[in-house]
Assembly symmetry: C2
Homo-oligomer: 474 residues x 2
């Protein structure tokens, strides 16, 4: 393949996110079948372009006229989604050539992940695509999701899908699908663009990064990766992206056995982990170890500004939780802020005589005088107003915590838009969920675990420092 | 204090968990006040002993006759719960001496955590207790919870409390309270005994460990710790305990700053972390870094048997999740099992021709033939039946997963009671919660994150290995 310039990459990939027309080869009338769910998803999302189901045995599918073949479609088709058994895919690819389509998304599996025969089949697929200049996502993937643009090629139920600031590059289809369902049903954040790369036969990591780098809706990119096809290109694309927005990467196949498992399901070479560690470091990517952490950091970057430094104020109703947070902060590159004497004196004025102030700030004595609402509000406001504080973590309980707390916290955080705030809530699950909803709607990231909250705030600082160092170098 | 023998410790601590009678000094008629909630909790839990509210200004509280002082109670009192301002506590302690009570739980704060005056007050408290041979929990704590024995001294709402196999030793009161609420409302496991040690003025870590070591209801001990009063005694008690049941410890105050924060809220010296690391290692305790992990390991030990080795089978609907699980296993001391050829051949018989078998076992091809239910059931049963497999992780999605899955999995796990199984479910939250409920009721630990599930299984193996090494030494 001839190496394309970045601008060309970006404009040629647009077809996957905003096609004017899409054909679904393997469209089905049977609910539950992939080729049926893909069509339903397109219709439910409200896709505004033309949809052409392709199925030789049907007249009409989901209220749309069906066509026996691509050739039989009387209009231009920009993008083709292929969801048929692997051995039939090459023939359809030749139809795509003749139809002069711009892009294909191949959902089908049975290629480089499926032995020698599959590998051969994938090679032929790549040859056909290159021959006609067709851009190709997959095979063996769930493909594309663009909630704001109302387009998708996925077969996963999209109930609860939301548009937002997180771009997600997922290597594998089934995993992306499982993640979709978890995100849509349990998380508050929205997605800007999702690209499931699958076997990466043609469109690959660096293409995805190039596209998301220039995508206005994407504030942060989270990526699940097993192997990189071209390390040099990955580095170049990541380097361009991280100058504009953060990149958070989770790498599967760190161990030799994990790499072997990766090879067997996407046919991708995971390579030695030290090489990736160096690659990610050089590329300014933030590496995480679990998909829960991937989502934690994703939402925190999408919701919050970057801090100007690493001096954190911790406010906690529980001394023990304050201790744990302190440990986690110090272990992840943050330091305890030293608030000005007058900041603490202002708070001390309202506190019982026996009580002391400090960082972590124990909010219990203050709450005995001004209620828990008042104590969270006053202390967070005082500490965020202090120039010696760059960011804050608030650890709340649900012991005597009515819903109103959330409004107080939201109001104070909004009054200090330049300083990141995260919240931990440890307590009764139903109150947690209500507070979670209110605060995350207001772009405050909420966590149960102290360590996860701190890791997310620390990532904001790491990226800030990375940008500062970049500036210094240039 | 004279060093007591272990049997004496155990019998003298029994008073905190199964007292025949309890007085609550500071009992209150005002809902929401500590001294009111403690009484209500006792009544709601169904405490079967005598309860004596003590409040000079009340005739009756929560339907119970109130007494102006301890002295005014016309009967013997075994245990006294004290929830009044700190400066009044010493006087009540003298009443306890005169009343010849066996134990006191001091909820009040304002002692060693509250400056020089508080420290002096705590010293006097200890002197008075020792003088009369009164055992004392606290001050500055939520105290005791014994769900099965229907006794508590806590002021935290106990809605959802359940009896079970986990013993919990918590240093700090407020944190324990927050954890209670989280556990009762979001977790399925039950608690055997909880001891909130607070400032540890008298009853301390090694006492709690001695008690829980011999407590039949306690299958595993989880512990949040900031400092240890007597390292040698801790080691001796932990050593006795870990021969009978696992001990999982989370240590607050790992960093210098964290240790400083610990000092300021419980007055406890956290000490250098290397010392604790060595202490925990020598004591055979399993150390974790977050309270979520503390609960993960707690429930897994409470639910599951120990494996006989570290050879794990991974079954996953998603190749990507299988890769992540593999990495996590290899990084935490587990190895991939090599199932016998005939085990895999038996599964391969039912699978499509193009598909391959291995470990991780990709359940997708099999599920195309025998449904997802069938695929999970068949593969889990085949792999657990293989002598080359010691334990298993099942990674499920909620994509086309009806509730019935859980029954299949539960049935297979029950048929192999000697091999631990954990389940990850990544997908739609409401289906997750339903499956979680069914499987955890059947003692199968359920997780979202792959890494958390693997860490929990790995802990089972670590403890097994620890016991084997003990046997070899003796």
């Amino acid at each position: 393949m001839v190496e394309a310039k970045t601008e060309d990459t970006v404009s040629s990939l647009k077809i996957f996110f905003e096609p004017q027309s899409v054909a679904v080869v393997g469209a089905s009338r049977t609910p539950g079948k992939l080729g049926n769910t893909i069509l339903r998803n397109l219709i439910k999302l409200g896709y505004r372009g033309r949809i052409f189901p392709v199925n030789p045995a049907a007249q009409e599918i989901e209220g749309l006229q069906s066509h026996p073949s691509l050739a039989a479609i009387p209009e231009m088709v920009e993008l083709v989604v292929i969801a048929i058994p692997a051995h039939l895919v090459l023939e359809v690819m030749r139809d795509c050539q003749r139809k002069k389509v711009k892009g294909v998304v191949i959902i089908s599996s049975g290629f480089s992940e499926a032995g020698r025969e599959g590998m051969e089949r994938q090679r032929e697929l790549v040859r056909l695509a290159a021959e006609a200049g067709i851009r190709m996502v997959g095979p063996n993937t769930t493909g594309i999701l663009n909630p704001e643009g109302r387009f998708t090629t996925t077969f996963v139920d999209l109930k609860g899908v939301k548009a937002g600031g997180i771009g997600f590059v997922a290597q594998t289809g089934m995993f992306a699908g499982m993640m979709f369902q978890w995100i849509f049903s349990s998380q508050n954040f929205g997605l800007s663009k999702v690209i499931g790369l699958g076997n990466k036969a043609e469109v690959t990591d660096h293409d995805a990064l190039d596209y998301l780098a220039q995508d206005e809706a994407t504030r942060v990119v989270i990526m699940y990766l097993e192997g990189v096809r071209d390390g040099r290109r990955f580095l170049a694309s990541a380097d361009r992206l991280v100058r504009r927005k953060p990149l958070v990467v989770m790498k599967g196949g760190k161990t030799e056995e994990g790499a072997k498992a990766a090879r067997s399901h996407t046919g991708s070479m995971a390579g030695r982990d030290e090489i990736f560690e160096a690659l990610f470091k050089q590329a300014g990517a933030i590496r995480v170890n679990d998909f829960e952490e991937l989502l934690d950091l994703g939402k925190t970057f999408a919701y919050q500004p970057l801090p100007r430094g690493n001096r954190i104020a911790i406010i906690s109703l529980s001394g023990g939780a304050g201790v744990m947070a302190t440990d986690a902060c110090l272990e992840s590159g943050l330091v305890l802020a030293s608030p000005a004497g007058q900041t603490l004196a202002k708070l001390k004025e309202k506190m019982p005589a026996w009580s002391t102030t400090g960082n972590p700030f124990d909010v219990e004595p203050l709450s005995e005088v001004v209620t828990q609402e008042g104590a969270y509000r006053l202390s967070l406001d005082a500490l965020l107003s202090d120039p010696a504080v760059d960011l804050a973590l608030l650890i709340m309980s649900t012991i005597r915590t009515p819903q109103i707390h959330a409004d107080y916290v939201v109001g104070v955080a909004r009054a200090h838009p330049e300083k990141p705030v995260a919240v931990c809530i440890i307590g009764e699950a139903s109150i947690y969920h209500r507070l979670f909803q209110i605060m995350e709607e207001a772009n405050i990231p909420v966590f149960v675990g102290v360590r996860r909250a701190v890791a997310s705030l620390a990532a904001l600082y790491k990226y800030h420092r990375f940008l500062v160092n970049l500036d210094r170098k240039s």
